[in-house]
Symmetry: D3
Subunit: 251 residues, 6 copies
Amino acid sequence: MKLLIINPNISRDVTHLIESEATRSIYPGTELTLATAPFGVAYIETRAEALIGGYAALQIAAEQHAHHDAIVVAAFGDPGLAALREVMPIPVVGMTEAALVSACQHGGRFSVIAISQRIQAWYRECITAYGFAERLASIRALDEPLAHIGRVQEDQGERLVALANQAVEQDGADVLILAGAPLAGLARTVATRLPVPALDGVTCAVTQAQAMASMEIAAPVAGSFALPPEKPCSGLGPALARLVGRQPTDT
Amino acid sequence: MKLLIINPNISRDVTHLIESEATRSIYPGTELTLATAPFGVAYIETRAEALIGGYAALQIAAEQHAHHDAIVVAAFGDPGLAALREVMPIPVVGMTEAALVSACQHGGRFSVIAISQRIQAWYRECITAYGFAERLASIRALDEPLAHIGRVQEDQGERLVALANQAVEQDGADVLILAGAPLAGLARTVATRLPVPALDGVTCAVTQAQAMASMEIAAPVAGSFALPPEKPCSGLGPALARLVGRQPTDT
Amino acid sequence: MKLLIINPNISRDVTHLIESEATRSIYPGTELTLATAPFGVAYIETRAEALIGGYAALQIAAEQHAHHDAIVVAAFGDPGLAALREVMPIPVVGMTEAALVSACQHGGRFSVIAISQRIQAWYRECITAYGFAERLASIRALDEPLAHIGRVQEDQGERLVALANQAVEQDGADVLILAGAPLAGLARTVATRLPVPALDGVTCAVTQAQAMASMEIAAPVAGSFALPPEKPCSGLGPALARLVGRQPTDT
Amino acid sequence: MKLLIINPNISRDVTHLIESEATRSIYPGTELTLATAPFGVAYIETRAEALIGGYAALQIAAEQHAHHDAIVVAAFGDPGLAALREVMPIPVVGMTEAALVSACQHGGRFSVIAISQRIQAWYRECITAYGFAERLASIRALDEPLAHIGRVQEDQGERLVALANQAVEQDGADVLILAGAPLAGLARTVATRLPVPALDGVTCAVTQAQAMASMEIAAPVAGSFALPPEKPCSGLGPALARLVGRQPTDT
Amino acid sequence: MKLLIINPNISRDVTHLIESEATRSIYPGTELTLATAPFGVAYIETRAEALIGGYAALQIAAEQHAHHDAIVVAAFGDPGLAALREVMPIPVVGMTEAALVSACQHGGRFSVIAISQRIQAWYRECITAYGFAERLASIRALDEPLAHIGRVQEDQGERLVALANQAVEQDGADVLILAGAPLAGLARTVATRLPVPALDGVTCAVTQAQAMASMEIAAPVAGSFALPPEKPCSGLGPALARLVGRQPTDT
Amino acid sequence: MKLLIINPNISRDVTHLIESEATRSIYPGTELTLATAPFGVAYIETRAEALIGGYAALQIAAEQHAHHDAIVVAAFGDPGLAALREVMPIPVVGMTEAALVSACQHGGRFSVIAISQRIQAWYRECITAYGFAERLASIRALDEPLAHIGRVQEDQGERLVALANQAVEQDGADVLILAGAPLAGLARTVATRLPVPALDGVTCAVTQAQAMASMEIAAPVAGSFALPPEKPCSGLGPALARLVGRQPTDT
């Protein structure tokens, strides 16, 4: 089995964190291709950044999905996830969605531990859009500017553990989601210091991607996730144009 | 990895259907233990029957979970799932919950295809209790008495495929869930005749059980899924008393 | 009129509390039969304990309902309520549901005062399952282990009154529900110390049971609360088998 | 016990229907005072008519509540109910709210059978405002102009029974509410022709009013249903001014 | 364009505040008619007061709407809004609804800053009834008795600004609504001291009224906001009787 | 006042339709700048197409917003709206959001009339994400492939009117939204043939944009719609990089 893991941001440091955690989460025989966005921002905190990251993820998926069995969008908030799912012939998994479905199977309500104050509104909207709002106990987030996105775990690890414990004690969380690709691997490191299951988005996404690929379910030819109807397009690059326009007009 | 699969009903025919489909859904090295309820009804259509099946599942889990890595409750509606999840030291997966989380990862809205008219109210309540109501496109169900619960697929297969197609065309389903252990294996058989992904609860549950066990997450010691506080009990049988009462009073 | 009041737990002390309060809530001519679960735990805090209590309540109801006009399930969380309502030919009332419908008729939002931290998740899920979540202002609960379940009122009365006042002042509660059979009678005792209506689950349930019985409404023969369709069963005891299986296979 | 039953409309025919049904629903010793709105419309189908009826009900309650133990607002949609509940020192019950809480205790989902197409939007908004929308299976309504509001039952009885049966068979209703004071008494008449419990708003309201009065719960002195803070008023009539202004400025 | 602005309360001071702010919010050529309730209370905090104010607004609208292009109901909570919208042949706008739709267009979640503790329950119910509850971040309110309703801004301005800032910092508000006609104009005064958009209900309502009138959309002749069906009425005053009864019976 | 109207699709025909309708909806003195996406598809039916259109809209806004007072995103589904709102210093209005808020001010529930079957899922998700799902009566859509996106009104006008009437008669719509930029102007043409208000997204958006601009509310400096925190970026083009990265790294 071969997974394409897309970092929708430009930070190669974060791609390395994702790869390290993903490597620990695969079954024997699973291979990984890692891709980093060729344009965009260092990490996603806002709706505008998510739109940019989503477009980058869509382009990467169009260009590189061949010969893979599933795709992972590896940024919290799942930029572009629904779009990719419509046009890709293979399963597409998002870190947030995967963490949420895993959380539901471990307990009743969950809290999300996040890396910045600003990111909370965007997370809340994603969770609500998936329909999981009533199971969200709280979002708790760091409140200092991040010195370096690739070293958040080292710099802020203690504070993140403290926030996680507060979510259990004060907010009624049965499960914790340590959110955001920059935190990839942290759940594994601090598991013994937390009294409830702590989920890592990368682990959950890679595990769910393998689960979905193993079910060998054919892509839909009806419903709202079948390939979109053919229509004229322009300016999209050949790979994306083939998917969206079906009769590429720009090649 | 070793899974304990519990049929909360007394029908050994259905246990065999579950086992056949489960066997097709496991990774190399996964072993299965199948258990059938020692008391209860032939299949679950109602809240009363689910209560009986849930109690049977709890007893079986208490008695047989040792040396397993995860438990599957193999009846739609997940009788006893939350109760088992509280007292078991290993992951517990339900057919309905597993199918729902898989459905969410394949599309927007899903329909459930069910074996009887009566069963629909109970299914709807379960789906609502999990918080997935707004993604339910419809429930469509057979409307004739079942001649034999172990032969529903042979007797009613064509009708079930017709209902599934109606759900896609008329109700806007992106994904289908062929619901109930008596339909175990049907999705695999009829997949090519359905235009959207058709999910089998047993496949989903076994796949998710392996996914959860592979994540090796410790059981909670806080929150509402930690072991209940110790308290006096009586009349429960030694295995269940050890879990619920912690200081068994009846042995 | 004759009411069967079922304590789904094994604590006879609590049965006595229930009886005392119920006796104060009946109209002239109403008679009471009290029953205590023959197996289970001392009091219900969790989903697992509620499953056990629900199964005990179902057995008691099957065995003792003859010659009664309504049944009261006298534990907060209403273990087994929907199941009993399906199979009993007479009205069945639960303490939680009865308190919730009474609360809705006294104000806008209500708070629940509970006997333990752990019990809150289970209460919240029950209230949500009934569809009353948006009217729940808060749940506030004792945070110490209970020395004796039959003496909570004496031991923790002051603390419970303090929690109730906080719910009014800080959470916007228009109505208070003093929850759990171990608190039966407390609302009556402390009413003058609370600035809003304080409801006792036993009072509400007994009052609603009499109201329902007085309306003399026939049991349904269609819909999802008609008797379940006949099906094979085994191992259930003759009374329950007659209800669920209709053609008892084990007698 | 003494109940004040307010018909917020000007139709004395309907007041007589209400009185007939109420008389059948009281316990020995309960006395009734019937009041008909001195201004307004013949029956309420719309938000504007409900506003007029609500204001009439508020005036009647202010003037006549003394020496009563509870008040019933006897029009579907409960015009003025929350307003009365704020300013009256005794329990106030509405036909709709009472029927809804009774319906919840008889089954899962209910349908409302109504006397006109136009009335449906107003009913739906009331049910949603109470928080019961997710338990509403359907509203089905007559689609012809009413010849005489006091003779709807005679003129349209067969059609109403047909609508009720459709709600059970096609919409999944476990319980029926025959809605509107002009249908008072119909549920009793046609009960044997309907396969699920059919509730009469007047019966439910009178029964719940007696239940609430029997609980002898003091009016709140805090929360949002305590008497409003004193403030200047003018033009209200002395009884209402005393309640709302507390220091009447117009007498 | 000509707008009829109705103050549903008796405070002429507040009518002057409304007029001042409205005058600053109109386009060239827009004219204003101001009307003050001939009966009622000084300001609305409760459901009972809103019912009185709504009835007053309905009477004023019936009597004075001729020759106007739109109506504004100028009290927070929009007393009588839906009723007026049913019977008026021109657009009707409410302060609360207008502020809510403006808030939705400026951000994700909003907080409401209110003039009294008691008023919060009523505001919350209004916001919920409009379907905006999930976008409400918080309601924060003054907690002292108001010395004079026409001088709240002068007396409590600093405290209101402090509450507004707390809503942004602690509750996650993207937008603020300074609620209640007594605060008309405050948003304009304190805008530079608040870090997010602060909306004035009067400004929003007058702006939306002009927007609606400019779209020149005909009143409905079907649906639930068409004129109610004709029916007998009495005691309503000729203008209202013409609208509601259509064949006035009391003139 | 100067409005920038962005067509996020590549169809210049549709841009002309938008311009024609917008010109009819402006106040004296308002000027329009029209922009068409330089890359993308002919019209948006799906999530993938919306992602592409959203990214195009973000680029256009970054490049052309200077010297404008408000921006209109002129495609149904509002591609990129929240993203633009975060980074633009002026109000941003979307066709869908504007039509929804107008619909709420004209009635209770609304129906959306759409140009293709496939588009319905995407519309439903947008409406739900804005929090308006409970006011959606139905979506009804054309079920034939579109011959030419610029001539849908001529080719399918009668069918669209028929769908609109069905929504009123069968689905309970109080208001109609004729959805999608290709239908710009249709509401005006067919208004007299529809019994309830029919809203045009372009009209609503242009009207709301003028309303928002006229309120002269400063952009937020806190909350989740303030400019995102500075962070490294690459590959974005200078205008977008200045907004998102603040310290452009690629110029």
